[in-house]
Amino acid sequence: MPLIQAFFAIVRRDLLLAFRRRAEMANPLFFFVLVVTLFPLAVGAQPNLLRAMAPGVIWVSALLAALLSLDGLFRSDFEDGSLEQLLLSPHPLSVLVLGKVFAHWLVTGLPLLLVAPLLALFMGLPEQAMPTLWLSLILATPLLSLIGAIGVALTVGLRRGGMILSLLVLPLYVPVLIFASGAVDRAAGGLPTGAQINILAAMLLLALVLTPLPTAAALKMSVN
């Protein structure tokens, strides 16, 4: 299947590119770790307060780290003309876009997932909330990449699109933030989290189907 080949060719290429510019790619992860570790220092020796804040702090930092990483999604492709070549490919652009978003998530979302339990421990999050924290991150970080891709595609043609990108994307991130940190918060209190997790899963599935199309359309507009 040439289409599946093209999809994996994009994923492979973007992973290779990320590997060749490791330092740049580690930025969001570094930011995530830095913000979360600074909180206990600023708040002081108040374990109970930190424990109560943990879900919110971890999730806000993860969200801002995701936002920070977004700009690189299409920027270099736009600047060196690779994006034009993607547009001219006989394969549907939305599938290629999905490949790019997937690679982007592997590079920026997955590392967050791996360090989050460590940081949660550091903040004193109860152990019973760990599985929920993981699950919420697994469901919501790809969601952030998918939603963010629309915003990046719209602003990639602008010289200073960073500000507009945040304004466009943050309102769409708010529901994700509410349900994800809400789930972790409830799990820490020993309450059931089925509803929040189900809603996140539904949002992810919906985004997987719906976001590649507007992203592809926005990219076409940006290249114009």
Binding site: S82, Q85, L88, P90
Partner: protein, 210 residues
């Protein structure tokens, strides 16, 4: 919509304006297999804009483009054409080979294998060099190697001769000539006059379009 004409690529009544300035209007031409079309005109006369319309990046304000008798959106046009623009479209962190493999994965395999194409553009031996270590002219030749490894009937080239030396220019002209002789088509813009006495060469001067 069917549109009968002997030409493979048919442009009918194309017009485009930018910032209230009319670039061209009522532009019509046809291109048959084996023909080369050279777009001429001063800076800002709309050469690149016309090429971008032909690539589907930009909507024309009026007119239609047909490929093999059908509107381009309904035809195999995008599987049959290839574009090399001002930006090379190659990734500078990847090697020559990785770039061409990726181009091949996106399109359909063409006439030449990667090795053969690199030989053609005199880049053999550079397989594993990262693109950022190549000179400007070598990068240009690499972006043209992409045309050879993927299947394409129509080549759209925007200023293909920039940053090429004399041998490089000759090389590109030979490649275009071979492509045309094999039934391909080329549309290009250039400030440099073609030295190749190509039989099927058409010229369009955009300044003279009202």
């Amino acid at each position: 919509m069917e549109h009968s004409s002997s030409a493979m690529l048919e442009v009918a009544g194309l017009s485009c304006s930018r910032d209230d300035r009319l670039l061209f209007s009522g532009l019509s031409f046809g291109l048959r297999p084996g023909q080369v079309l050279l777009l001429e005109g001063s800076n800002g006369s709309g050469k690149t804009t016309l090429l971008r319309i032909l690539c589907g990046f930009r909507e024309a304000d009026g007119g239609e483009i047909f490929w093999a008798g059908r509107r381009i959106a309904e035809s195999r046009y995008f599987a049959d054409m290839a574009y090399v623009g001002h930006a090379d479209g190659t990734k500078k962190e990847l090697t020559v080979l990785e770039n061409l493999r990726f181009a091949l994965a996106l399109g359909h395999p063409g006439q030449y294998s990667i090795d053969l194409a690199l030989q053609k553009v005199r880049l053999s031996g550079y397989d594993d060099s990262p693109v950022q270590s190549l000179s400007a002219g070598q990068k240009r030749r690499l972006s043209l190697a992409r045309l050879l490894v993927t299947h394409s009937i129509l080549w759209i080239l925007d200023e293909p001769f920039t940053s090429l030396d004399k041998q490089g220019i000759e090389l590109i002209e030979t490649l275009m000539d071979e492509h045309a002789k094999n039934g391909g088509m080329v549309i290009l813009t250039s400030h440099h006059d073609l030295t190749f006495p190509h039989l099927g060469l058409q010229r369009i001067h955009l300044d003279s379009c009202p």
